[in-house]
């Protein structure tokens, strides 16, 4: 897939409009994680020189607030809910996008194996309305204090 620049506030029609809407939602997701959790500030900072203790303290705070963002706007659930490292059965007709087989990938389903990662699936999406116009490219507004 070729990289596309996010368009500025222009009217698009048909397929273009829905691509644009999808990109806008991606930006919105980042914007929510930044507004309530400061995730983008965190990822964009060079943390190589900081001691673990300081980094850890900041991470705890960001972790807690970003979790709340997911809880409120994009609820997730595991694809397979068994305990990790426990046996599971992959059924006939399984969706390879949802379940990835590793190891000795032979034979026909149903296949017995050990669960190594539960996977993540979206269970509920409740996003606010998109901002109008140029707001769609903004992950976080600049802040200017008027003195």
């Amino acid at each position: 897939m070729a990289a596309t620049r996010v368009p500025a506030a222009t009217e698009k029609s048909g397929a273009d409009a829905s691509d644009s809407a999808a990109l806008d939602r991606a930006v919105q997701m980042l914007a929510l994680l930044q507004r309530d959790g400061r995730l983008v500030d965190f990822l964009e900072e060079d943390v190589s020189s900081y001691p673990d203790g300081q980094l850890g303290a900041a991470v705890r705070s960001i972790h807690s607030s970003c979790r709340q963002v997911l809880e409120r706007y994009i609820k997730l659930e595991p694809v397979l809910s068994s305990e990790e490292d426990h046996p599971v059965t992959v059924p006939l007709g399984f969706d390879p996008a949802a379940i990835k087989l590793i190891g000795s990938v032979t034979g026909q389903p149903p296949i017995r194996g050990l669960l190594r990662h539960r996977g993540w699936r979206v269970s509920q999406v409740t996003l606010p309305s998109l901002p109008q116009g140029s707001g769609r490219a903004i992950v976080a507004p600049a802040e200017v204090e008027v003195v």
């Binding site: 965190f42 900072e45 900081y50 980094l55 900041a58 705070s61 901002p131 707001g135």
Partner: protein, 615 residues
């Protein structure tokens, strides 16, 4: 015509709430719901919350992107009300109206003049405390109508019975202004109810039937309401009017501007000092964040009594998020020192709130309390303010004249913390025992769950009560009772004569009352063994004494029959015409009296109807 819903509205200083119930059967089964209130919580984001923060923000051209404030019922509202107003107000305080309710009760202010936001810059549009209060009510009304429908079916809020609460300390003008605010918001059918009474009704609701064991006529309840920004004390005496529980507010204190916000700020200042001692600078915005973290840390420590400290982390500003991160901790010892000892110190009942020596020039504004000790304000209330009450003579008082309540009811978000409730009761008990009365035990502390919505719930409950029979002092039977009457029909081989059910005790019939089955006589079998069949129903609640039913489907169930021989001298196996009378006794039995036509003879059948688990 009775409205479809009964609505309780708590127009709080910091948060407002709305609760309602539907008109239907009996008070004891009233299901009271707290309504979700849609409000704008972030630009472009509307969400429902059970509380509407009582904050109004006046946006200018520079504040928000166009179209980002739209509500389902208004694409471009002039003001922001609720959660976003509060958030944005923290960033831009000059355009925020807070505590409008405290202004509404402040006699020294011109309450109908556009004075809020207080001391805002010239260019900011201003509103009067009256108008702000009206706008909150308007928001609640529009939200309700959007949810329940204003479609002519009688569901709009303007058509419902609305109980609107006010602090007991509101003077006549503040109450009148509250009514006007409601009228301006389009609500005409509004009754004012005092908050401490609403809190008491919320407690009643939470108890189900068990409240009658906890309190009785003659008790004196201290209502102690400590919220985000205010503290209110009142005394309620419990009496009886025609068998209904009657609440009488016999004393009220001032509306004290002291509350949870002060406490959180005190903690934030403490942590600020600790951080600055470590050479960290904290600016005003970071103090706000610190304030917010302190509230969370405080709640965590209150909820987990074994934890000794809670970390508080302030992330760095701008690009140096990790680089500027500073960490400190709130120790339990500090929490207790600042909150418990600072705001609820153990004091004597004669210690009055300090009035600091006044500086000659004062900034004009709300009269915030100079003394942060809630317990000293309580001492003043019980010793001095009670004396000025018109009911002073009827209040139970000790040797020194201190009013001594028999019970305490807590209200307001701050009183969710158990350690603060315990401390207040401890201090109160030290006074009460000094005055020669018994200390208040755990049973004397009335705890309603859901302190944040209690006042709204209680208001709805009261509205329901006064529509029906009020809150009855004595319990009523929880089922409808019937006696089986054999029909007078020609015999059919192999078939029992059909049984009819005669209602002898309607649902809700009170203990200690009697009812006569009107007009009819029935045949009573005397002189030989007979089966007396009792039946009851939990479904049929509208039947009256004397209703004779032939068909009842599954709605009535039969109880174990009484087999008994009623005797009358000289009579063996006769059927005598009698009139019937029922009586529900205070010890939980149903008596059915059968009186002969000449009045010379009476027989009694008795049935134990107390439910399992009752005393």
């Amino acid at each position: 015509m009775d409205s479809e819903f009964i609505v309780g509205i708590d127009l709080g200083t910091t948060n407002s709430a709305l609760a309602y119930c539907e008109k239907a059967d009996g008070l004891e089964s009233a299901r009271i719901e707290v309504d979700g209130i849609p409000q704008i919580v972030n630009p472009n984001e509307v969400a429902e919350r059970t509380l509407l923060p009582s904050f109004l923000y006046i946006p200018g051209d520079l504040d928000f992107p166009k179209g980002s404030l739209s509500l389902p019922w208004d694409a471009a509202p002039e003001f922001v009300i609720g959660e976003l107003a509060r958030k944005r107000g923290a960033e831009s305080p000059g355009r925020l109206v807070a505590s409008a309710k405290s202004w509404l009760s402040y006699a020294a202010a011109n309450r109908t003049a556009p004075i809020l936001p207080w001391q805002a810059p010239q260019e900011v549009r201003k509103l009067s405390p009256l108008e702000v209060s009206s706008r909150y009510l308007q928001h609640l009304r529009t939200a309700w109508d959007a949810h329940h429908g204003a479609d002519g079916k009688g569901h709009s809020l303007a058509e419902q019975d609305v109980l609107l609460t006010v602090p007991a300390s509101f003077d006549e003008e503040a109450r009148e202004l509250t009514r006007r605010a409601a009228e301006q918001a389009g609500l005409q059918r509004v009754t004012l109810l005092e908050e401490p009474q609403a809190a008491f009704y919320a407690w009643l609701e939470s108890q189900g039937d068990a409240w009658r064991k906890r309190i009785k006529v003659g008790d004196l309840v201290l209502v102690c309401d400590v919220g985000g920004g205010t503290t209110d004390f009142s005394l309620i005496a419990l009496s009886e009017e025609n068998g209904d529980l009657a609440l009488k507010r016999v004393a009220v204190g001032e509306h004290i501007l002291l509350g949870g916000d002060n406490m959180d700020l005190a903690l934030a200042r403490l942590l600020q000092q600790k951080l600055e001692a470590d050479s960290h600078r904290i600016d005003t915005y970071q103090l706000q964040v610190l304030w917010h973290h302190c509230r969370s840390a405080k709640e965590h420590l209150f909820e987990h009594p074994k934890t000794q400290k809670q970390d508080v982390t302030l992330l760095g500003k701008g690009r140096k998020l990790v680089g500027g991160t500073i960490k400190t901790e709130l120790l339990r010892e500090e929490l207790n020192r600042v909150l418990v000892e600072g705001f609820f110190p153990k004091v004597g009942s004669d210690e009055m709130p300090v009035r600091q020596r006044r500086i000659g020039f004062q900034e004009l504004g709300l009269p915030y309390a100079a003394d942060a000790a809630v317990t000293r304000h309580l001492a003043r209330f019980l010793s001095q303010q009670v004396k000025n009450s018109p009911e002073a003579g009827s209040i139970r008082r000790g040797r020194s004249g201190l009013a001594c309540p028999t019970h305490v009811l807590f209200n307001g978000g701050v009183m969710k913390a158990e350690v603060l409730r315990k401390r207040l009761v401890e201090v109160l008990n030290s006074w009460v025992t000094d005055e020669g009365f018994d200390a208040l035990g755990a049973a004397n502390v009335l705890d309603a769950p859901d302190l944040e919505h209690a006042v709204a719930r209680g208001a709805a409950y009261y509205g329901r009560a006064r529509r029906g029979h009020g809150v009855r002092i004595r319990s009523g039977v929880s089922r409808t009772y019937y006696i089986g009457i054999e029909s007078a029909m020609p015999a059919v081989p192999g078939m029992e004569a059909p049984l009819k059910a005669l209602c002898v005790a309607p649902f809700g019939m009170e203990e200690g009352t009697e009812a006569v089955v009107p007009d009819r006589e029935f045949g009573l079998v005397v002189g030989e063994p007979a089966e007396f069949r009792f039946l009851s129903s939990t479904i049929r609640k509208q039947d009256h004494v004397g209703d004779l039913l032939e068909d009842w489907g599954g709605e009535i169930e039969e109880l174990s029959p009484l087999e008994v021989t009623l005797t009358l001298e000289g009579q063996q196996g006769s059927v005598l015409p009698v009139r019937l009378e029922s009586r529900v006794t205070e010890i939980g039995t149903l008596e059915l009296w059968c009186a002969s036509r000449d009045g010379a003879n009476r027989w009694k059948l008795e049935l134990n109807i107390r439910e399992k688990g009752e005393a």
